[in-house]
């Protein structure tokens, strides 16, 4: 155990819970922070109202299933349809995970305890990932339970639901690593929010433009790649490749093969590398 110095107080003889426990505690604390739990009411407004907006199509969908026996949308397309809300949640909440510790320069205090920098960053990424997963998977699950209870004719779409939840996990790892890497570049919260949303809006605005430019000039094969600029369509492309679900894009189709999945892995690796470099520097301050 690395303690700084001993000034003669009575020692602690109780059980030592170890590094795993410290990391877990840090992760749970960060996860609570994402939703503003344990913080004043004004920190809870934004995450909970965005989570409520995520539930809105679910309520409408269940009502439609019960009243007119029709599904509003499919499970596989939920994240793509709600992408603006998910992106706003990511942008507004990822700085709350990383910015305060960086701004107040308390990383050396954390590191004076047995927790290592990798465990610190891992706990933060895990907390944000769990938060993003809950944001997407809870409405999906509620919609599926509603689907089972209404009991429409035909078999329930269990496979599609499970695929959508698995893809929600992939999406949340991708989004939270990228979001935290961008947010950790600045210790100011407002700038962190702005940089995350700028990157998202750039990717969303540019993808259809690039597609149209390439498609109208006859570069059809190249045009398909334009959709992969946006992280939501990228994960949708992986889903379509794995499970053969509908492609939720305005026009055209995704490029097939394993490349979309490889891009997802490469982006996650790049974001983790940025985080590692950033925190190696922050820890030395």
């Amino acid at each position: 155990m690395s303690e700084i110095y001993d000034i003669g107080y009575r020692h602690y003889d109780g059980p030592r819970l170890g590094r795993a426990h410290t990391t877990l505690a840090l992760g749970v604390h960060s996860l609570r922070g994402v939703f503003g739990l344990g913080r004043p009411a004004r920190s809870k407004i934004m995450p909970f109202s965005l989570a409520a907006v995520m539930m809105f199509p679910v309520v409408v969908s269940i009502a439609m299933m019960a009243l007119v026996q029709q599904r509003l949308g499919d499970y596989s397309g939920y994240a793509v349809v709600m992408q603006a809300v998910i992106a706003i949640f990511l942008a507004s909440q990822s700085p709350t995970v990383v910015a305060p510790d960086l701004r107040h320069r308390v990383l050396p205090l954390y590191l004076s305890r047995p927790v290592t920098i990798a465990e610190y960053v891992g706990a933060k990424v895990a907390a944000m990932t769990v938060a993003m997963f809950l944001l997407v998977a809870v409405p999906l699950t509620v919609m599926f339970i509603g689907d089972l209870l209404v009991d429409l004719p035909g078999p329930p779409p269990t496979g599609e639901y499970l695929g959508a939840v698995a893809m929600a996990a992939v999406l949340s790892v991708l989004l939270s690593t990228i979001g935290l890497a961008l947010a950790a570049l600045t210790p100011r919260r407002g700038l962190g929010v702005a940089s995350v949303i700028t990157v998202y809006l750039l990717s969303t605005g540019a993808a259809p433009m690039i597609f149209a430019a390439l498609y109208s000039t006859g570069h059809d094969a190249a045009a398909a790649w334009a959709w992969l600029i946006n992280p939501f369509w990228l994960v949708d492309a992986v889903q379509a490749g794995l499970f053969g679900t509908t492609q939720h894009i305005p026009e055209g189709s995704y490029p097939g093969g394993p490349v979309p999945a490889l891009i997802v892995l490469a982006l996650i690796a790049a974001a983790v590398a940025v985080l590692a470099a950033r925190y190696r520097k922050a820890a030395a301050q």
């Binding site: 004004r42 507004s92 600045t186 919260r189 929010v193 702005a194």
Partner: protein, 238 residues
């Protein structure tokens, strides 16, 4: 207008890494324009689509947001605004200075790149480039004023600003026709429509509504920012 406050604000926004955020969007717009002209899609329709679908609807609100909140919100966030407020400078003057800085940044980083991007594609044909540049400029000034006000009213200024720009202007505006009258982007399009004679572009709000609305919103936002700063109380960090 206080030149010292303006100088400090410019330095805070353009210093080191922060300028990257301001440069990212205009560079993306010009890169898109270059790509369009490289693949030979440089007709008026694509230009108008790029201007309306990217320059006015994505680049402009974001830059207005970054510049408008960026001139004051970080100072409030880390508490250094107290040093500014304790100086014998009238608060409305501080508000006006911050607004001028934000407006000039929007002009440089949004209006100029918009002109360049349109010029790369169609030159000075039918006044598309100058029309959209002027439209971006006036709408950008209004955005800067509104987001400056938002920055002193709430700590969630950036998030609320994004929700306004994304949800209200993009989503509600496209579904509810009446909501389009209350969108800064649409007012900017109206001004652009007065200058350009391109047959592919038609604004939806009348000039008689858009121009007074732009002026009233800008002046009211700057005035209210000054009012708000006069009786400002610093609250603790969350």
């Amino acid at each position: 207008m206080n030149t010292v406050v303006a100088g400090i604000t410019y330095r805070a926004l353009l210093g080191r890494r922060r300028v990257v955020l301001l440069l990212l969007l205009p560079l993306a717009l010009i890169a898109l324009a270059l790509m369009f002209s490289f693949f030979g899609g440089e007709d008026q329709r694509t230009t108008v689509d790029l201007m309306r679908g990217f320059a006015l609807s994505t680049l402009l609100p974001l830059l207005g947001l970054i510049a408008g909140t960026g001139v004051i919100a970080p100072e409030i966030d880390d508490g250094t605004i107290i040093h500014l407020m304790s100086k014998p400078i009238s608060r409305p003057v501080i508000a006006r200075t911050k607004f001028v800085v934000a407006a000039s940044l929007v002009a440089v980083f949004a209006a100029v790149p918009t002109y360049l991007a349109a010029w790369i594609l169609v030159g000075s044909e039918d006044g598309i480039a100058s029309g959209f540049a002027v439209g971006t400029l006036v709408a950008g000034i209004a955005y800067a004023a509104v987001f400056l006000l938002l920055g002193v009213v709430t700590r969630h200024a950036v998030t609320i600003g994004i929700i306004y720009a994304l949800v209200w202007e993009a989503l509600v505006g496209s579904l509810v026709p009446g909501a389009r009258r209350f969108s800064i982007q649409q007012w900017g399009q109206t001004v652009a429509d007065q200058i350009t004679t391109s047959p592919f572009f038609e604004a939806e709000v009348s000039l008689g509504f858009a121009v007074p609305a732009l002026i009233i919103v800008t002046l009211a936002a700057v005035f209210l920012t000054g009012r708000r700063l006069r009786s400002y109380s610093l609250t603790g960090d969350e």
